[in-house]
Symmetry: C2
Subunit: 199 residues, 2 copies
């Protein structure tokens, strides 16, 4: 039987990660998020900080980037983005073939497009003011700093997605279902989605 | 008990109307679409052609518009848009209070935003090439004419929505759930949505 994989793209601060986690719990399936970076680092022998620095970012036009590794500024080749993308792609295909799961971010929708699996691609969004309030509460930031962080992270995610896929990030035509988490809230949105995917 | 109303916005050619119709059938609730224009005309004594001409269009900057009524060019006041919007708003509030239903288009999401009902706002989209193929088959048009018709109708709907609401048409933040009908097709998308709303 084919595995069923649900991928979740998300605007920063929309609660997409939490919704994915709760959906995975409700469906009793595996959940993959940032640990795909750690796994990629383990497999390649690259120190995790190098990959964490380039995770979900498009390749840079520069040859080297300055990264803080245990307080020491270290220069890493910017081709790390492409290397991480390749490693993560292989990992994502492996976990998708292994069993039903939810995968957050990392262009999983695109990476899995030709795999022999049952694939559903979701995207979670929310109005800017809701996301600002959420990030302010989570990160103890003032409004301007929260807004700047959201804009910067969204910009990185968009550049990363549009660079590695032939699709447009945040455009509902790129996904099967886009949910606005602000109306029902995180918990109720996860419940609503789990109704669709309950077997 | 509060009534539950599902509104459906849609890109032209995405199959949003059919999905709404099937969803209403699956849930055994009323379905409202173009008959809101006929009802508005009946109630006001205005001939239906006048309202059909301005349905889902923003108010024009001109005072009069030329309309074909039974082959005779007739000049109608362009304030008909606002008059139709007002009549439709009242009708939409009435039908929403009367019983569970699905309402397609006509800014119903915005009109009902403060009503004491259980409101869900959906939007249906699909990639342009899929919509072109659909309209070509439905209307026996060549590719260029189908594309022109889609662009024109989407433009009208966007202008109408953005004019009468304070929201942005086709933006997933304006709705609760946006579905891309191209992946699962009309029937399966309607089934998927009916799972969410099954009582």
């Amino acid at each position: 039987m084919k595995t069923r994989v649900i991928t979740i793209g998300r605007q920063f601060g929309s609660g997409g990660r939490e919704i994915g986690l709760r959906l995975a719990e409700a469906l009793s399936v595996e959940f993959y998020d940032k640990q795909l970076v750690t796994l990629a680092a383990e497999r390649s022998g690259v120190i995790p900080e190098v990959f964490e620095n380039v995770d979900e970012k498009a390749a840079s036009p520069w040859l080297y980037a300055a990264v803080d590794v245990n307080g020491i500024t270290t220069y890493i080749p910017t081709s790390s983005n492409d290397r991480l993308f390749e490693l993560q792609s292989n990992l994502i295909k492996e976990v998708a073939a292994k069993g039903d799961c939810v995968i957050v971010g990392r262009c999983a929708d695109y990476i899995l497009r030709n795999e022999d699996i049952e694939l559903y691609n979701l995207f979670v969004c929310a109005p800017m003011e809701i996301r600002i309030a959420r990030k302010q509460a989570q990160e103890k930031l003032d409004e301007n700093d929260a807004k700047a962080l959201i804009k910067k992270t969204d910009k990185d995610r968009r550049a990363y997605y549009n660079y590695y896929t032939n699709k447009e990030w945040n455009s509902p035509e790129s996904y099967d279902i886009t949910v606005n988490s602000s109306r029902l809230g995180i918990t109720e949105t996860a419940i609503l989605l789990s109704k669709i995917f309950a077997k």
